[in-house]
């Protein structure tokens, strides 16, 4: 009996061990990533595996990425797992990417919590790790040497909006409604300071649990305070419920700012979404230089920007990745990460460079929904529309 059990154990060990023997060939640039295909982030990045493979296809159609050391272009190959929107799973798969798939570089998972867990794999196994949609300052305060992030820190997420408010000087007071999750909370912390810098009076800041659906108490309070700006720092479902009830209860500030106001927001609210300001990385027709690549990748991947407004940030990440390898001229991981740190380039979303601790420079622009269309309203050199302030009140 014991022999049979031993045999069983060995079989299990072999079965577990078997897939680890595969090796990446030297004839491709091997990039590892996870995507939240299932779990609660799936609604935000579910189909993004297509985004990655589509870009790889586009690059490979032109022969791949030039690597000087080998004197030829190498094709890009992705290995992508589903992290189920779960930290432990994400960490597990990044460990796998590092030890079994032996990737050359890693693209980060979606969101700060997953990135916090996953980025340790890059650090421990010395593999360049590019965080994409993750901007919590916590990620960059740990002294990681193998980590860079594409986008700017969360607290600076809406700095261009506050710049605009300061320049215009019309609004005098603001009230914050904040969803108690990591990203909206980070954005709020920065915005609070930026609002004070813009000489606005902060009337109140309500930090509200993530699953809150009924806002009667908060709206009752806001009506009493009547701020100029109601600033909703939250994810989309939260903002939809808030705006809907604000309209039902006739809360009429001069301006609504909902940091995320993508296509779903607009569809679910209809006329209540008019004149709401939010943040966009990119809108059609923006004067940002050559943004053709965004259109190409999104079209090939069959992903629509208004539905997934953070998708352009991934395109920028791809460009950064490509440029870093081209500049390094080798797949040597130490040199690639050095070239990443020294990088300074023009991407589809403007200039990209990295701070000492690793976070990036790409940031969002304030955009207002006007007649159902997203108009970037600041700064003037890239704007596609004009800021309407105050918004016409609801009857």
């Amino acid at each position: 009996m014991e022999k049979r059990f031993l045999a069983f154990c060995l079989t299990v060990a072999l079965v577990i061990g078997f897939p680890f023997s595969a090796m990446a060939g030297p004839d491709a640039i091997h990039i590892g990533a996870t995507v939240s295909q299932t779990g609660h982030f799936s609604s935000e990045v579910g189909p993004f595996k297509r985004l990655m493979t589509s870009w790889a296809d586009l690059v490979n159609d032109q022969g791949g990425i030039m690597v000087e050391e080998y004197g030829k272009k190498l094709p890009v190959k992705f290995t992508i797992y589903d992290d189920k929107s779960d930290q432990a799973t994400a960490k597990k798969y990044y460990e796998r990417l590092a030890t079994v798939d032996k990737v050359d570089m890693m693209l980060g998972p979606y969101s700060s919590p997953l990135t916090l867990a996953a980025s340790t794999a890059g650090e421990n196994h010395h593999i360049p790790f590019i965080a994409v949609c993750a901007n919590s300052p916590k990620i960059y305060s740990r002294g990681f040497k193998w980590l860079v992030g594409v986008i700017d820190l969360g607290p600076r997420y809406t700095y261009r909006y506050w710049e605009m408010i300061k320049t215009e000087g019309k609004a005098k007071s603001v009230a914050f409604v904040v969803e108690d999750t990591i990203h909206p909370l980070g954005v709020f912390k920065g915005s609070q300071k930026l609002a004070e810098d813009a000489e606005l009076k902060v009337l109140s800041s309500d930090i509200v649990p993530a699953n809150t659906r009924d806002f009667t108490p908060i709206i009752t309070k806001l009506k009493k305070e009547s701020p100029d700006i109601v600033y909703v720092s939250s994810n989309i479902p939260f903002a939809i419920n808030f705006m809907k009830q604000a309209k039902e209860m006739k809360l009429n500030p001069n301006e609504y700012h909902c940091i995320h106001h993508s296509g779903i927001f607009k569809d679910a609210l209809g006329s209540a979404a008019e004149y709401v300001i939010g943040q966009s990385y990119w809108v059609e027709g923006m004067k940002l230089g050559d943004t053709q690549l965004i259109n190409d990748v999104l079209k090939k991947a069959d992903i629509s920007e208004p539905r997934y407004p953070w998708s352009p940030a991934y395109v920028a990440a791809f460009q950064i990745l490509q440029k870093a390898i081209e500049n390094a001229g080798t797949l040597d991981k130490g040199k690639v990460v050095q070239s990443l740190k020294n990088l300074k380039m023009e991407t589809v979303l403007g200039e990209a460079r990295f701070a000492e601790t690793g976070y990036g420079s790409i940031n969002t622009y304030p955009s207002q929904i006007q007649g159902g269309v997203y108009k970037v309203i600041y700064p003037p050199d890239v704007a596609t529309g004009k800021h309407t302030y105050p918004r016409p009140p609801w009857e």
């Binding site: 009996m1 014991e2 059990f5 031993l6 154990c9 060995l10 299990v12 060990a13 079965v15 577990i16 061990g17 680890f20 295909q37 299932t38 595996k49 797992y81 589903d82 189920k84 779960d86 930290q87 432990a88 960490k91 597990k92 460990e95 796998r96 030890t99 079994v100 700060s112 919590p113 916090l116 867990a117 340790t120 650090e123 421990n124 919590s136 916590k138 305060s141 740990r142 002294g143 990681f144 108690d180 999750t181 990591i182 909370l185 980070g186 649990p209 993530a210």
Partner: protein, 320 residues
């Protein structure tokens, strides 16, 4: 004894794993051992005593948070873990009074509510816990020591569970599961035993919670109080078979194997498949895998079956 020799053997193999080049296997076994320990410690209350404690992950979360907070205060790992399990055990003792006034579905419901309550508290006590953003602990590569520690805790939990099942205390727990009133009138100190069982089951859960966060270097309310971590150990225990020590092991290995080898092939419908398995389990196999016709004889011959079978061996020895 067959029982000990089999497991010592298995543990030697597992301990050798990192030195045989299975570095991903280490990550994999680490997570498996965490789930398994949770499932096994759940089973002391859920399987042996028959109180379905859907809030078992509360102890895991408490252990994780206590450890994270103390590590950030500069305490070493062992002090932090010690504090973690003492706190969890104290908490278990504290809540056992109101909780065990309830039985059956009410108990299950109240314990499920307990997780949400603790989660909200964790989110709201921002100064202590870092709020919804969670806390990062001092970074570092702790994979290997964490692996050995979890293996150790898992082994200790198995020994614990095994000796509980064979003890007077275990007999008392079984009788509570079967008929609490009769048990009480035969002198089983039911209130004491119920509280004790909850405290005992909280210790391994809080310890693996602490080791988990040390290795993960980051903890957020959702990662330790979420639905997944609450339900999957219970599902593992039930799939394998509750009330039998080998059950949670079979369940944990089965589910993690399926996740690893089946789900990487099929990108969608994982939860749907999971759900289907649960439904089939509930309808046709409430005893779990180890009680099915094909598996039971094998398990019994290894001497790993239920306590019921245990006495058969004893009898045979005595009477022959």
């Amino acid at each position: 004894m067959v029982f000990y020799s089999v497991f010592v053997l298995l543990w030697i193999i597992l301990a050798a794993l990192p030195w045989l080049g299975f570095s991903y296997g280490v990550v994999w076994i680490f997570l498996l051992a965490v789930s398994f320990t949770l499932a096994l410690s759940y089973d002391i209350v859920g399987g042996y005593m028959g109180y379905m404690n859907l809030g078992h992950s509360t102890f895991f979360g408490l252990g994780a948070y206590t450890t994270a907070i103390l590590l950030n205060q500069g305490f070493n790992l062992f002090t932090s873990l010690l504090a973690a399990f003492l706190l969890a055990a104290f908490f278990a003792a504290l809540i056992s009074y109101p909780l065990f006034r309830l039985r059956g579905a009410y108990f299950a419901l109240a314990t499920f509510g307990l997780i949400s309550l603790i989660e909200v508290l964790t989110v709201n006590l921002r100064d202590l816990t870092g709020g919804s953003g969670g806390i990062s602990t001092p970074p570092g590569n702790h994979m290997l020591p964490a692996y050995y520690m979890v293996l150790g805790v898992a082994a200790a939990t198995m020994v614990l569970s095994h000796s509980v099942a064979r003890s007077k205390f275990g007999l008392g727990l079984f009788s509570i599961r079967e008929d609490e009133e009769v048990a009480q009138s035969f002198g089983v100190p039911t209130s004491l035993y119920k509280g004790l069982a909850l405290v005992i089951s909280s210790v391994p859960a809080s310890l693996v919670g602490g080791i988990y966060v040390w290795n993960m270097t980051y903890v957020s309310p959702e990662s330790v109080f979420g639905l997944e971590i609450a339900l999957s150990p219970i599902i593992m225990a039930m799939l394998g078979g509750t009330g039998v020590m080998i059950g949670p092991l079979v369940g944990a290995v089965f589910i993690t194997l399926v996740q690893e080898f089946l789900w990487t092939k099929v990108p969608y419908f994982h939860l749907a498949m999971y759900g289907t398995v649960l439904v089939l389990l509930g309808l046709f196999m409430p005893g779990g895998i180890v009680r099915t016709r094909w598996v039971k004889p094998f398990i019994q011959r290894l001497g790993l079956g239920e306590a019921v079978e245990y006495f058969k061996n004893v009898d045979a020895e005595r009477m022959s």
